[in-house]
Subunit: 434 residues, 2 copies
């Protein structure tokens, strides 16, 4: 038995480790296009910011140590150009054939540069690879730029803006639409924009960038540009091999991470997953989901029978010190999915006022018909991750708002007010549902 994994980061390596656990005799080979494996892409903005001192701090494992400790063969610099599944064979760039019995695709995602001319100039940066980060850090050190434009208001754009502000640059954040973190509702967007402005990040909506000039972007003078205009799944290899691609553009998989072709699995940022609230396929490329999908794909390729049920779409981002967590559906997403959403948004505090509690906002969305919780947002200073995780757990368990309001959440003055903001929001939401 020969299990081949394409891609040597979160999903691919999780898959390899897990396949080994269930099949001690198989030959397991990981093919990685780049020179490094197992690095934390989510840490790149914090290297730019200065929190992460060395890029190597983001590298969790080397090919040598991984091979040795895990009994898995790693080949770096191995770019797969084609899958010939009838022959159970991959082709590497250069023509070398690689036979396999089972194949796991963990080819990741790539930054979206379409429609922007001039993205390959020296003062333009992505923030997708270690090389991107190294090049940007060098540029900051050597060229001492003063003004940056960041194109894109997703996680990477927001985190890049925070990092460049921390480095003392003047930052303008541009987006072609009116979204922040994929949302357009003013109750969500406005407080974040206000906070960014307080941190001296300018935000320009509805600014479509077609050309990046040497000294400016859309008339905004700048010394450097970060292009973080979204991502796309690396699904071409799969598509060309006749593997079904979902409507999201990512590889379609079932809950065992099997693609439409028997013997080929897909996991991580190249693949779709199931949304637990809607029970529909979604493409939400995040590191922690990639790990879970990889584990599942690897286990099944290794002969186990495991299931990855899906995600609630939980994410969290620090926006110049403001923590913003989201999970499940927004009101407009819920409406599009056929629910009848009721929304409650409250302003509360993360701790008692006498314990220097800071403002925190909680938004809960529920379905009027079933009274099921559908989603939530938490914004504030302390405790945002914990509170969004409670909502994510409640969504997974399909709790109704009535169940949610009775949750036995921890209370002591250093940690929370007597009525946790989550429970206060639920009380108010229930009034709407009556």
């Amino acid at each position: 038995m020969r299990i081949v994994v394409v891609g040597g980061n979160a999903a691919g390596l999780s898959a390899a480790v897990r396949a080994r656990r269930f099949d001690s005799s198989a030959e397991i080979l990981v093919l990685e296009r780049g020179q490094r494996i197992s690095w934390g892409a989510c840490g790149l903005p914090y290297y730019i910011e200065g929190q992460v001192k060395e890029l190597d701090d983001l590298v969790l494992s080397t090919p040598e140590s991984f091979s040795e400790e895990r009994n898995v063969t790693i080949r770096t610099g191995a770019s797969v150009t084609a899958i010939h599944h009838t022959r159970r064979e991959l082709l590497l760039k250069g023509g070398e054939p690689i036979p396999y019995d089972k194949l796991i695709l963990a080819t990741g995602a790539k930054p979206n540069t379409s429609g922007v001319d001039g993205w390959n100039q020296t003062q333009v940066f992505g923030l997708h690879t270690l090389e991107d980060a190294a090049r940007l850090k060098d540029f900051l050190t050597q060229r001492q730029p003063k003004r940056a434009v960041v194109i894109g208001t997703g996680y990477i754009g927001i985190e890049a803006a925070e990092a460049l502000r921390a480095q003392g640059l003047h930052v303008t954040l541009l987006t072609q639409n009116s979204e922040i973190l994929g949302r357009t509702d003013p109750e969500f967007v406005e407080p974040i924009v206000a906070h960014l402005n307080r941190c001296r990040v300018d935000v320009r909506f509805n600014t479509r960038v077609r050309i990046i000039d040497v000294g400016s972007v859309e008339g905004i003078p700048c010394d450097l540009v970060v292009l973080a205009n979204g991502q796309r799944p690396n699904a071409e290899l799969a598509a060309e091999a006749g593997i079904e691609i979902g409507r999201t553009g990512a590889i379609r998989v079932n809950d065992r991470m099997e693609t439409s072709v028997w013997g080929i699995y897909a996991a991580g940022d190249c693949a779709e997953t199931n949304h637990l609230v809607t029970n529909s396929p979604v493409w939400i490329p995040l590191g922690t989901t990639a790990n879970k999908m990889g584990r599942c794909a690897g286990a099944n390729a290794g002969g186990a029978r495991e299931v990855f049920p899906g995600v609630t779409g939980t994410s969290i981002v620090r926006v110049c010190g403001l923590s913003v967590g989201m999970t499940g559906l927004s009101e407009s997403q819920a409406r599009r999915e056929g629910f009848q959403p009721a929304v409650m948004r409250i302003e509360s505090r993360d701790k008692p006022r006498y314990f220097r509690g800071r403002p925190t906002t909680v938004e809960l969305v529920a379905d009027k018909n079933t009274r099921r919780l559908l989603g939530g947002v938490v914004m504030g200073d302390d405790g945002v991750a914990g509170r969004i995780n409670v909502i994510a757990t409640a969504l997974t368990a399909r709790l109704r708002v009535e169940d949610f309001q009775q949750l036995d959440l921890a209370y002591a003055p250093p940690f929370a007010p007597t009525w946790d903001p989550l429970l206060s929001a639920a009380h108010q939401l229930i009034k709407l549902l009556h």
Copy 2:
């Protein structure tokens, strides 16, 4: 309709407000024995510590403002001595009769001083009322004591020790058994004791205090003593009126907070509640539960039909800077309740190492037969409240470990490692269950 509430703090006032919401015409009267209402007992240690500047900061409402805003009559200094339910009448100290149609008992709990002689000396303090805290603070300011003995290792004892250390006193924490926060398992007790010792709090187990002398307790010289030797429910009034008392010593109620006597409700620290993991009555007197029970009792007394399903026994305490959260059953509790517990305890970090992640310990307990999660402990620096709340939510939803390990918890480097410690613990626990 006349609804009378006995007790003017968390449960009693929640009940009064909630009764008013459902019955706009009833006369609602709250009888409070003391001179103040609506104060946060959980904040008292932080007044001693200095975090809370004024005792009044802990008082949320005065009788006058509450009466005015809520259309509820408050009588302070009104001590109820008997319930004559056949006449629907209470008797106040002094003999005044108070008629009622519906009665809500929210008489709270009292500190346990039994078996200790000398507890009423001037250098001995409880930490149960605003007066206790004021007297202790004055003593600290005026007498500048150097050495304190704290008797009791529950929340109040631990928090008192932390507060007195912050005030610069040398502190010895005594207990007659070998428990910390109600637990004896060394995996829980030892790290907490080690941390207390690092913070220069001495801990003496198995030290039964029978007499508090003027300058010493059980041979330990000291200038002041805090007696925090547990609490007991104030259930005598109910018992004398023939209301059923549960095996825990607190007033028995159903999930509508009805006592065994029709028309009399009980809520808060004087009453039992249901444990959601075991489905048995428990007595866990905590402020946040008191509020929930009070709401439910008040709603039902006001003509609604609400249910309070119970608690998972969630609590959190700061132990000289170490956060300790618990919910559900410990291994030994689980065994006593007839489960076959498997326990996993892991050491992890609350954030990535490159983001200065600090050590965090997670313990999960599950039932081998049903694979249901039964309880958990989280100890560490950051994120303890959030993580214990996720476990509490999972217990409420009766999640199995397999479901729990797939939770879509928030990940970004400023907040958590890629594998949240909760998920890592679940992975390891599953291996034990195979």
